[in-house]
């Protein structure tokens, strides 16, 4: 790897540098990676799965895969975070598929009674609950794309790499997802307090 290339890696993907140090036995790198990556992985898994216990399992499993692949990691081929989000996305998809096998479809596709729950809660936590409830009504891929784009703040090309689809497909998924969310939540404006304080 040339000097320029190593400079790029340090700036573009500091996690890859930490992962290389981890593979060389650096315990401080293990700690930094854990602290950097765990909240992001857990946050994504929780928003996609909507279940803290399952999100916790997925987080631990995804990071376990990262630790195992560390000695063979090739710097420059993929960003660590992209690879990790991809593992998380696949683990979440597997769990959602299993869930669909156990739960009647109607219980998933129909949103919970958001009007009632939203009317009772006007605080930001309640709004986030409403967003989460609405997210869980989206199809798996739409939900993953919307969370990655609008909550994790990733760029479309990175989301395309994570979901293994084209950039145009990402744009389509996020647009449809946003339309569905706006429709679901738009009816709850008053209940969510948006007409009161304009926040």
């Amino acid at each position: 790897m040339s000097l320029d290339a190593s400079f790029d890696v340090v700036h573009d993907d500091p996690d890859a540098v930490l992962l290389a140090r981890y593979a060389q036995g650096d315990a401080a790198a293990a700690r930094l990676l854990t602290v950097n990556l765990t909240p992001r992985v857990f946050g994504h898994a929780l928003r996609v799965l909507g279940d803290a216990a399952e999100a916790e399992d997925v987080t631990q499993e995804a990071l376990m895969r990262l630790w195992k692949i560390a000695p063979d990691w090739r710097i420059g081929e993929a960003k660590v975070s992209t690879w990790l989000y991809r593992v998380v996305a696949n683990l979440c998809t597997d769990r959602l598929r299993k869930r669909r096998g156990n739960v009647p479809l109607a219980e998933i596709t129909e949103p919970a009674d958001m009007a009632e729950s939203a009317e009772a809660k006007l605080q930001r936590g309640a709004r986030l609950d409403a967003l989460q409830t609405a997210l869980e009504t989206l199809p798996d891929r739409q939900r993953q794309a919307v969370v990655l784009r609008h909550i994790e703040g990733l760029a479309n090309p990175e989301i395309a790499a994570i979901l293994d689809i084209g950039v145009e497909a990402v744009e389509s998924l996020t647009a449809r997802g946003k339309r569905a969310l706006a429709k679901l939540l738009g009816g709850q404006r008053d209940a969510l307090g948006y007409d009161d304080d304009k926040t």
Binding site: Q24, A30, M64, R124, L128, H150, K178, T199
Partner: protein
């Protein structure tokens, strides 16, 4: 999708970005324990790193053998080699450079070429 709905959705996304979910208790510790359990051992440091860098026991064995052989040749050289050790110990020399026998050296050899 009306404009107010879009704006509300953007506000919700911003709130979600600003409010990462709390991690379950002990999750970070469990992941850290996994990381350390799976971590390859650190490479050797100090004298052990030098020992391995020069090739470990086989290389050091070769060095010791070469040193011993060299010492032995110095002490008891074969008949066709000069006994340098004896010369050093006894102070005798095989040949001396007679200062008078060597031509006088001068710079560039101009004096020889030009007569």
């Amino acid at each position: 999708m009306t404009k107010p709905d879009t704006e509300m959705l953007e506000t919700l996304f911003q709130d979600a970005r600003r409010t990462p979910p709390d991690l379950p208790e002990g999750l970070m510790d469990r992941i850290m324990a996994d990381a350390l359990a799976q971590q390859p051992a650190a490479g050797p440091r100090g004298w052990r790193a030098i020992w391995l860098a020069i090739g470990g026991a086989p290389a050091v064995g070769g060095l010791v053998t070469a040193t011993a052989v060299g010492f032995w040749i110095g002490v008891a050289p074969p008949s066709n080699l000069p006994d340098i050790a004896a010369q050093i110990i006894t102070g005798t020399t095989l040949a001396t450079l007679d200062e008078g026998s060597a031509p006088e050296l001068s710079a560039f050899g101009w004096d020889i070429e030009e007569g």
